[in-house]
């Protein structure tokens, strides 16, 4: 198998995996899932590190560093904001229980 075909195989299998793995998502989780997926593509950071590490002049270095900065913003900010969204989900669930209890007794 040549390298091009190997990468094509990886691409096709990943596409099916990405599609199947979230096919049963519940509607309430649409936004956090989008945010989490958004964080995952921040992994372009490793691409940015690779090209910046090979920079041959100042312009390439600065462009590379901007790419590193933006990718880190995407990666770190993405995971942190997703965590905060999900934290709110969990915080909301126990808050409902005391509200229900008095109604049941009254």
């Amino acid at each position: 198998m040549t390298e091009g075909v190997a990468l094509l195989t990886v691409f096709v299998l990943s596409a099916f995996t990405g599609y199947e793995v979230i096919s049963k998502v519940s509607t309430t989780l649409h936004t956090p899932l989008m945010s989490g997926a958004n964080a995952i593509h921040g992994i372009i950071l490793i691409g940015a590190i690779l090209v910046t590490g090979r920079a041959r002049d100042t312009v390439e270095l600065w462009v590379g560093l901007v790419a590193v900065f933006l990718a880190t913003l995407n990666l770190v900010g993405g995971f942190v904001v997703t965590d905060r969204m999900l934290e709110m989900f969990r915080a909301r669930t126990p808050a409902r229980t005391p509200a229900r209890t008095p109604r049941r007794h009254g």
Binding site: E3, L7, V10, F11, S14, A15, G18, Y19, V21, I22, V25, S26, T27, T28, H30, T31, P32, L33, G36, N38, A39, I40, H41, G42, I43, I44, L45, I46, G47, A48, I49, V51, T52, G53, A55, E60, L61, G64, L65, V66, A67, V68, F69, L70, A71, T72, L73, N74, L75, V76, G77, G78, F79, V80, V81, R84, L86, E87, M88, F89
Partner: protein, 278 residues
């Protein structure tokens, strides 16, 4: 394609572990009980992959790179911690946009580094630059709409057909020229034109539909990251980008369905007539 043999075997195994983390993260995020742990698994995979890259490649300019990462992490974490709940969607849009911009810059740098890039690599470069820049500019407009800096109503530019036809035609021509000549200058022209395409794509979208477009642009960034994985010969970027591209596409359809809308109506309805305003 960069020589993949420069990545040692142990690092490639580590990348595989990170790729599995990303798959588990998406699966975790799709179910209420596991969503938070899923997100953490994804973050762990990302940390592993970045650490492996430093250990395996030992990039030059190590200190400036680490400073750029520290700055990005600080700004990203503080913004994500401090943002008010209602402003989260636009922050996600912004993070998505800068990811697309990063992918486009990586592709331009890689094009500059290849004196004799094959046609496959040049196509991947043109694709990454185009889709990454569209995602960046589009995300900035969605950010503006969600933040009320840009009017939420569908904005239709005058002389619609002429403007859209002109910009799309010029972008396509720049993409073909970039592939044929492999020139960085045309790559930059392509990037600038693609920014215009991104703006024109999102302006006609109505305020209520903007979150769905954020999801679509998220899938776009995923695809541009996947293409950059191909041109760098990096399997993890290819897998992660493709996962997000596919999951993001399905999610966009599911979100549109939940609102009783179709993706085509959302994108082009505003151009067809006033019936879909709102």
């Amino acid at each position: 394609m960069a020589d993949p043999t420069t990545t040692p075997g142990w690092a490639q195994i580590g990348y595989l572990v990170a790729a599995v983390c990303f798959i588990l993260a998406l699966r975790g995020l799709a179910a209420p009980r596991t969503s938070r742990i899923g997100n953490l698994v994804g973050a762990a995979g990302a940390v592993l992959a970045v650490a492996l890259t430093f250990a395996a490649v030992r990039p030059a300019h190590l200190l400036p790179i680490l400073v750029a990462i520290a700055l990005g992490a600080a700004v990203g974490a503080v913004a994500a911690r401090r943002v008010v709940m209602t402003a989260m969607p636009q922050l996600v849009a912004l993070f998505n946009g800068v990811g697309g911009a990063s992918a486009a810059l990586v592709a331009l740098l890689e094009l500059g580094g290849f004196a004799d890039a094959g046609v496959g690599v040049r196509i991947a470069v043109a694709f990454t630059v185009l889709v990454g820049a569209v995602s960046f500019a589009g995300s900035l407009v969605t950010f503006g709409k969600l933040q009320d800096w840009v009017p939420g109503r569908p904005i239709v530019v005058p002389h619609t057909r002429l403007v859209y036809g002109g910009v799309l035609g010029a972008t396509l021509a720049a993409a073909v020229t970039t592939v044929v000549l492999g020139s960085v200058v045309f790559g930059i022209v392509l990037a600038v034109l693609s920014l215009g395409v991104g703006v024109l794509l999102v302006l006609p979208v109505g305020g209520a539909d903007v979150p769905i477009v954020v999801s679509l642009l998220n899938a776009f960034t995923g695809l541009s990251v996947a293409a950059s994985g191909y041109l760098l010969g990096n399997a993890l970027l290819l897998v992660a980008g493709t996962l997000v591209g596919a999951a993001g596409t399905l999610l966009t359809r599911l979100m549109a369905q939940a609102m009783g809308r179709s993706v085509t109506t959302i994108l082009f309805g505003g151009l067809a007539g006033p019936s879909t305003q709102g």
